[in-house]
């Protein structure tokens, strides 16, 4: 009996695909990031006129008064405090070869989170903060950290903390490969995947501010500004990589490896369209 139900759901999913996928005619437009970013901000400011532009970085807490009170209560003594202190301690501890993270980053790594991810023209790919941290470790003979575990979250928490309030400042250099990476990230954001057949946009654009069971969905605008986040759901810290991979498995799509190109480009797109919004990491989330 059970497999019959499974079959019914597959048949249904296919039918929904057919209906949802009638491609409307689109001019083969070359990507225009500034126009996208403007359209992105207009969509959300029109949909939520009462929410100030910079408050979108508080995700679900700007969408609901009851949630906002709970958040203020938590922010008095936030659960990410321990991770922040651990990150600060780790950041200043030199590697075995005497060098430290400060030597790998501009301005000694302080107050620069808002410039990540950036497009590395030598490599021809997007480089995220998490990737840069692990590359710094490997360049100095240290083993890389897991992208989804606490050490990486602690380091990115401290670096985000030093950039609090600074607006996102993601640049797309005049390089066709950068435009491709941006477009690749945008495509990933809007592409439906997993058996539930959702895309990031299905939840965070079409139903931003609405509930999915107990949780209020964060609008996509400013969704990475608070990263890394301490989630009550996980009872611990979460990096951007952890968030992307768990989102995939939630909709029954097999996640890719953290820091695969798709995720780096996705982070590039999502950060670019939130340019101008302040960094508020590390954040607390439901």
């Amino acid at each position: 009996m059970r497999s019959a139900i499974r079959f019914a759901s597959i048949g249904f999913a296919l039918a929904a695909l057919a209906l949802g996928s009638a491609p409307t005619a689109h001019a083969a437009d070359t990507p225009d990031p500034p126009a996208d970013a403007k359209a992105f901000k207009d969509y959300f400011t029109k949909k939520f006129p009462k929410v100030k532009l910079e408050d979108f970085v508080n995700g679900p807490y700007s969408m609901n008064e009851d949630m906002h009170r709970q958040w203020e209560e938590k922010e008095q003594f936030p659960p990410y405090d321990f991770s922040l202190d651990m990150g600060k301690e780790m950041f200043s501890k030199p590697f075995k070869n005497g060098k430290g993270y400060a030597d790998c980053f501009p301005n000694k790594g302080i107050g620069i989170r808002q410039n990540y991810p950036y497009f590395d023209e030598k490599e021809g790919k997007v480089v995220t903060l998490e990737l840069a941290l692990n590359r710094c470790r490997e360049a100095n003979g240290e083993p890389p950290f897991s992208y989804v575990k606490d050490e990486m979250a602690a380091l990115t928490a401290y670096m985000a903390f030093t950039s609090r309030g600074k607006p996102f400042d993601i640049k797309i250099p005049n390089d066709p490969r950068a435009l491709d990476a941006y477009q690749n990230g945008k495509r990933y954001f809007y592409t439906r995947r997993g058996q539930l057949n959702f895309s990031c946009a299905t939840c965070h654009v079409q139903s931003g501010g609405e509930r999915i069971r107990a949780e209020v969905l964060a609008p996509a605008l400013g969704i990475l500004n608070a990263m890394p986040i301490y989630r009550s759901e996980w009872g611990g810290m979460g990096t951007i990589s952890r968030r992307f991979t768990t989102c995939n498995s939630q909709i029954r799509g097999v996640p890719l490896n953290p820091q695969d190109d798709e995720y780096r480009d996705l982070e590039y797109y999502l950060s670019y369209v939130s340019n101008g919004l302040p960094i508020s990491g590390p954040g607390a989330r439901p």
């Binding site: 296919l14 996928s21 997993g194 079409q206 097999v254």
Partner: protein, 107 residues
Amino acid sequence: MRGNMRISTLSLALTLLIAGATSSLTAGSEADFKAAYAAAEAANKEAAALRNQWTTTAAALAAAKKAADSGDFDQAVASSKEAEALAKASIFQATSEKEAWKALEIR
């Protein structure tokens, strides 16, 4: 058992349903299981190439193997067929989304 990709979506969905239902009734032998499992795995690999596998496909494949190991080849064949259907659906999703995503884009 090579699926024919060019028929329209709705009929593809219907054929899968009918194929799934009828085949699980026939008695499956080890050979049937091996063939069905191989087909499912091949489809799932193709989905992997498109970077679009579903977690439920892997679950169905695991169920098939478990059933086969315990000698219940009827169930093993049914689960393999289910896995193949899921893998084919994920392939279809990836190909159809190549253009469909633009419909959602904020303009």
